[in-house]
């Protein structure tokens, strides 16, 4: 079982830009996915230990730091894995600060930044790995033995309403009725993210997608199709986060963590999710993050969004005000979400076409973009990126800023 998530540190201005991402490592999402699909002779299903070690070694190499400089460790194994002390031993680290911190992105990063800001460690390796594909993890139906499921997964079992996708399906049906949007309109999101993925060699999906392909893809929970829902794959990501005052003269420009927020739905969960697309939570958590960072939404030049589903991306995009309610799909169709568009979104392909790494992939992409090293898909001159993690009942944005190299 994943460890419970520690409390988020406050969205306090004095914690803004006190820590920066100085190293990033990812496993071979695309190659590993192809290997799993082929499962040829000698194929061995990956395990989180190996994925975590691979991501860590790459991040350490990327940072240019010595192993001995890593004095903090945060581990996030969403579907189970070794403890932080076990990982420290495996990676040859002697951290003075260690934490087992849930799994999904947004929570662990602010906690790590606060640990760095308070002097508990100077340089923390944040390691995440999951193997939902090898575990044949289900995302609906009867809860899997020994796993915690959000309440919305079991409240409605008697009526067969259970799955992540069903949440987004209700949202999309409601949205269609509210704004007169069509299925082809929604397909534009899947196509845009596929186009983005094609510019990222580590993205799992590399085949161009037409609207005909989209409309021919099978329904999972109607009105949502396979291509409206995120991938399921095995992989790991590691981020190395360091005291911001010790990031000069490193190998890459530091990526400062400027602000964060957290807002959980406190009442009328289904109403807030389906009819408001979490707008009150996006507003509240967004205000916290922007206020902490001393910025406004107009400063954002790049948006990485937790794209569990096409329509969920649109809900967050509109919720932050990048388009008016009901206008997000038109914005996408007009090319506004492409690199070079008015607000580039999920430039590495997101979870829909890139890799399902629970938001860690989005933060890895922000790191590359703000370093100006996103080869083949670089947003020109980008200085500020926003990451939004929205689950069915909570929203956690994080703001990032390019630091001085």
């Amino acid at each position: 079982m994943a460890a419970p998530q520690p409390k988020m540190p406050p969205s306090a201005a004095e914690l803004s830009c006190k820590a920066a991402i100085v190293g990033v490592g990812e496993t071979d999402f695309a190659a590993d996915y192809r290997a799993w699909r082929a499962r040829g002779p000698g194929f061995e299903a990956p395990e989180v230990e190996g994925l975590a070690a691979c991501a860590f070694e790459r991040a350490l190499e990327d940072s240019g730091l010595a192993r001995s400089e890593i004095d903090g460790l945060s581990v996030s194994f969403l579907y189970g894995g070794p403890t932080a002390p076990e990982v420290a031993q495996m990676l040859g680290l002697k951290p003075r600060y260690m934490i087992d911190n849930g799994g999904i992105m947004a929570g662990p990063l602010p906690v790590a930044c606060a640990a760095v800001a308070s002097g508990e460690c100077d340089t923390i390796a944040m390691v995440y790995a999951v193997t939902p594909r090898s575990l044949a993890r289900k995302f609906g139906g009867e809860p899997m033995a020994g796993t915690a499921a959000p309440p919305s997964y079991y409240y409605f079992h008697p009526w067969g309403w259970s799955s992540q996708a069903a949440h987004w399906a209700y949202i999309w049906r409601y949205y269609q009725n509210e704004f007169g949007a069509t299925e082809a309109d929604l397909g534009a999101v899947a196509i845009q993210l596929r186009n983005n993925a094609i510019m990222n060699s580590n993205a799992i999906m590399q085949t161009p997608l037409s609207i005909e392909d989209y409309l021919a893809s099978r329904y999972i929970v109607r009105p949502l199709r396979l291509l409206d829902l995120c991938l399921v794959n095995d992989g790991g990501v590691c981020l190395i986060v360091r005291r911001a005052d010790r990031t000069r003269h490193l190998r890459h420009a530091p990526v400062l963590v400027a602000g964060w927020g957290e807002s959980k739905v406190r009442s009328k969960k289904m109403h807030t999710l389906v009819r408001e697309r979490l707008a009150p939570q996006i507003q509240e958590a967004g205000d916290q993050a922007f206020s902490m960072a001393g910025m406004g939404v107009s400063h954002v030049q790049h948006f990485e969004c937790y794209d569990a589903a096409t329509i969920h991306l649109i809900g967050q995009f509109e919720g932050f005000g990048f388009a008016a309610p009901g206008e997000g799909l038109e914005f996408c169709k007009a090319g506004g979400m492409a690199v070079g568009g008015r607000m580039p979104v999920n430039t590495a392909g997101g979870m829909l076409s890139g890799a399902y790494m629970h938001g860690w992939n989005h933060v890895a992409e922000i790191t590359k973009q703000l370093r100006h090293e996103a080869t083949g898909r670089q947003i020109e001159g980008v200085e500020i990126s926003l990451f939004s993690l929205a689950q069915t009942d909570q929203v956690h944005p994080i703001l990032f800023k390019r630091g001085v190299a």
């Binding site: 289900k138 995302f139 609906g140 139906g141 009867e142 309440p151 409240y155 409605f156 008697p158 009526w159 067969g160 309403w161 259970s162 799955s163 996708a165 069903a166 399906a169 209700y170 949202i171 049906r173 409601y174 009725n177 099978r218 329904y219 999972i220 929970v221 109607r222 009105p223 949502l224 406190r266 009442s267 009328k268 289904m270 109403h271 389906v274 009819r275």
Partner: protein, 122 residues
Amino acid sequence: MNCGEILWPVVKACEHCGRDALEWRRMSGRGQVVSWCTFDHDYYRGLLPVPYDTIMVELEEGPLFVSNPAGFTAEVIEFRKPVRLAFLTCEDAAGEFELPVFEADSGPRKALADVVVQSENQ
């Protein structure tokens, strides 16, 4: 005194005022379909034959109630279709139970709509 908030699904304490002195209250059983979806993917591994429909009903009293349509399918649903409560006898490991579902409501609400249309035509 409680705040009178009507809560569904079941919660431990009122989401509005925080009090835990909750009581069951009978609803009118009438509402409107405000969203719906059809499960094509077999999440329940054959337990529930796919495809099957689920609906989100806005009860007359306000709360949203996830349920199944009875006697009609997703193909004929229009936004805000009026529905009324019905019960479907089911059985699981704990024994027989009555599952609240919703059937098309062609009662007084439809008549009211008819009156409005007539007055517009005059």
